[in-house]
Point group: C2
Chain length 342, copies 2
DNA sequence: TGTTAGCAATCGCTTAGTGTGAGTGCTAAC
DNA sequence: GTTAGCACTCACACTAAGCGATTGCTAACA
């Protein structure tokens, strides 16, 4: 357990380092954070904190840089205290007052404002929790094609098209529809994936269009596959604003990693947190690029749709600001989603 | 008009500069491209080319760097001559032999292989040329909601959902559907945008559900709006591989520009070229980021769907390779689209 | 007239050397 | 436990020198 003074000094180092991106000296700490004791005292404390693994020196005549352990300590100590300027708060509000046209739009707008205000790369992940199938509709498009529509309790999945065989009557189509509904209503969309054509289930009357039935199942499978998580990112270029990633090699590493949406989804969703819970992962979490931190919060994006919003950036991230912005945006999203029900 | 030797020397400078990214000296040219005359002669020619605006020197004791004018000349002289290695050709073919699941998939796969093989940022733009409306369907989802489906001659537009008012009978819905079809069949999807509720058209019988009708039109408007151009990019991080953009400022400028999909679409589509035509724009075309070139070719992505595929990268781009890769990929796309009709 | 060898001149780049200043750790006194 | 004082370290900025690459020019030559 650290003494109060050690805590204070440690947080001062982290704060200063986040602010100035350069090693923090005993003198700086004394002048800005701890005028009541001398720099020599602080040097003693710094030395102790270094041997505890919280700090390190790039070279002997430099100040201290916080380790990842120090950052973890820092964010745990961080009392929540919004430090948004009124101008920033207003900018965020204004951004959302313009248009609210469905969840997709909200997602996009969140990434825009989040990355613009924080200067990090913003991420929004949308997850459909429990889409149970309410109905499957086959719709004759009267041009030789049929539309397969899956209706779920939360929304309609995208359509899929199929050619209708010539010898197919409306009556047969209605029967196919009944069969599909019998098989799948009440089940989760993911069950298409495990469905293995139990043709024994289908009575002889239908054997003639087994092939078509199989095609329909294929369409359904594809639909439910495409129905994975939705990931949107924005502000990738912001990484180059931060000195840690101002060189080509690490910037490329970062950008290439962020291009992989599956990885991003993994980084931003693993944590069984409930709505409003904030997760801070420091230092290459879940095979994220080297030296990265991820700050995310879970939000409710509508009935049965949950999501994560957050940023990914260097470990030397302005956590206070990011937390304040996320808090503000979450608040607005809750308001927007609530209002959408009207 | 340039003499043959001047042409040869100019192309040698451009070739060498593309290869080595450093100023090209008279000696290099003599040794690699023009052994039949002395470096002094080449120096005289270089001096002439410089005063003609094709070349410049970063400083007096350096070789020559081609200007954008030189690059334009170079690509015009470029005789098409595929210089793909067999290994590269095979890699491209293999990439597409795996899965072909619709145009979206093709688009994504094209960006992947194109950026991987060229080391530039790949772009695919899909444009729906003339989607005329074949039918509009209203589908009762039997949960108090209806699905509005627009069927066009090339495909089905995404669905839109609406609540059905309580006092709405199936009969009324069928009549609404008939009205919609009467109004819009044969027209282009964009016409929803200009449609201004000419309620005079609708006879008294329908006045009772004007509100719903208006809602449906709103859904249709939104659909056709969303039906703009589809832009996919990949390999943004590749820009950092090239020395021109290895510094944070210009890399960020580039990345921020590429994030703007509308701008990208503009860069890759303006040019009334027909299928197979290749466009090379050198040096910040259409407010692209400074010092950029865009190479694109138009492809047919199915009936009434055309598109552009290409790359965006530094002016010092390996045009020969890019052209070869684009040619190869176009060939494969033609094959894939053709086969899809089966 | 076009080509070429020779040569002085230019100038970026690398290397080495030097000085400065920031910051520490240690010691000894309080 | 705290602090002033001081020697020590070392990154960084600056300067100077030398090297090497490359050119333009001149004069000779085909």
């Amino acid at each position: 357990m650290l003494s109060d003074r050690k805590k204070k000094i440690l947080c001062a180092v982290v704060d200063g380092y986040i602010d100035r991106a350069s090693p923090i000296s005993s003198k700086e700490i004394q002048e800005e954070y701890l005028t009541e004791c001398s720099s020599a005292t602080i040097r003693n404390e710094l030395s102790a904190l270094e041997s505890m693994g919280y700090l390190f020196q790039p070279h002997v005549s430099a100040g201290r840089i916080p380790s990842e352990k120090a950052f973890r300590f820092y964010v745990n100590e961080l009392a929540y205290d919004s430090n948004l300027t009124p101008a920033e708060a207003e900018r965020i509000e204004k951004h959302f007052s313009r248009k609210i046209a469905g969840i997709e739009d909200v997602m996009t707008e969140v990434t825009r404002i989040l990355s613009d205000i924080t200067d990090y790369t913003a991420v929004v992940v949308k997850e459909d929790m429990s889409d149970t199938i309410t109905a499957i509709k086959l719709l004759d498009l009267s041009n030789g094609k049929m539309l397969v529509v899956i209706v779920t309790d939360s929304r309609v999945l995208k359509d899929g098209m199929l050619d209708i065989p010539d010898d197919f009557t409306p009556h047969m189509m209605a029967q196919a529809e009944r069969w599909l509904n019998k098989l799948f209503i009440g089940k989760h969309v993911s069950e298409f994936m495990n469905f293995n054509y139990p043709f024994a289930l289908i009575n002889d009357e239908f054997s003639q269009f087994n092939a078509l039935f199989k095609k329909i199942i294929d369409v359904l499978k594809k639909q439910s596959l495409m129905n994975g998580m939705d990931v949107e990112t924005y502000g990738e270029s912001n990484i180059l604003r931060h000195s840690e990633y101002a060189n080509a090699v690490s910037a490329r590493q970062f950008l290439a990693a962020v291009e992989n949406k599956d990885k991003i989804a993994e980084m931003f969703t693993y944590d069984g947190g409930e709505e409003g819970s904030v997760t801070i992962k420091i230092g290459a979490p879940d095979n994220a690029p080297e030296g990265c931190s991820v700050v995310s919060t879970r939000v409710n994006l509508g009935e049965n749709v949950s999501g994560s919003i957050g940023v990914i950036g260097p470990v030397r991230m302005n956590y206070k600001k990011v937390l304040s912005v996320l808090d503000k945006i979450s608040e607005i999203i809750i308001d927007l989603i609530g209002r959408q029900g009207d």
